[in-house]
């Protein structure tokens, strides 16, 4: 296996982690919205920001795989 292949696998693993993370955020945000629809806007903003943070970690993985 070439180094590129290994990098691709690494990126894939990073994406799995981020996917799970964003999934958890989405789940909790949905739950919270169902419980308290009156603060839906606030929850949406925070969920998006948190998703962005998690996503950044995955993107670091992708970038690392782009470097090699």
């Amino acid at each position: 296996m070439t180094i590129t292949g290994i990098a691709a696998i690494g990126a894939g693993i990073a994406v799995i982690g981020a996917g799970m993370g964003i999934g958890k955020i989405g789940e909790s945000a949905m739950n919270a919205m169902a419980r308290q629809p009156e603060i839906q806007g606030k929850l949406q903003t925070s969920a998006l920001i948190l998703a962005a943070f998690v996503e950044a970690v995955a993107l670091f993985g992708v970038v690392a795989s782009l470097i090699v």
């Binding site: 970038v63 782009l66 470097i67 090699v68």
Partner: protein
């Protein structure tokens, strides 16, 4: 690797472009737009506040009017009551007076009647007495001229008295 190496030229142009974009937009777009939005929002806020104030004033005015009206109504009521009382009093006073007067008049009349009656009675008595004396005089004069008749008279008078 190439993809994530920032090109020096593009960084340079991006920085310059964004800087000038920021400066120009700030001066010619954001300042007027945000200013206008602020101004408008302030205007709306002020208008709403003014409307609130006006409504409050209106309410105060209405309350005042109500109060004045109520006062006037109460005053009128009081006046009416007073008038009615006065009227009643006057009426009852008048009634009383009239009654009194009437009673007095009735009493006077009764007294006069009684007096009249008494005097009439006295007069009648006197009259009757004198009349009877006259009659008796005549009768006696006539009767006593005849002995038989005198007896008869005594007789009848006695029987009458018995019958009584």
């Amino acid at each position: 690797m190439d993809l994530i190496t920032p090109g020096f030229g593009l960084v340079f142009w991006s920085l310059i472009t964004f800087f000038f974009l920021l400066v120009i937009l700030k001066k010619f777009a954001w300042k007027p737009i945000l200013g206008a939005i602020d101004e408008r929002e302030n205007g709306i806020k002020n208008a709403l506040e003014a409307a609130d104030k006006a409504r409050m004033e209106m309410e105060n005015l209405k309350a005042d009017n109500e109060r004045i009206l109520n006062e006037a109504r109460a005053e009128r009521e009081a006046m009416m009551k007073e008038a009615r009382e006065i009227k009643n009093k006057m009426v009852s006073d008048a009634k009383e007076e009239a009654q009194e007067q009437a009673n007095k008049m009735i009493a006077q009349a009764q007294e006069a009647i009684a007096n009249e009656k008494r005097s009439a009675m006295a007069e009648l008595k006197n009259h009757v007495a004198s009349l009877s004396i006259e009659i008796a005089e005549k009768v006696v004069r006539e009767e006593l001229s005849n002995k038989g008749k005198q007896l008869e008279l005594v007789e009848s008078m006695l029987s009458d008295a018995k019958l009584n």
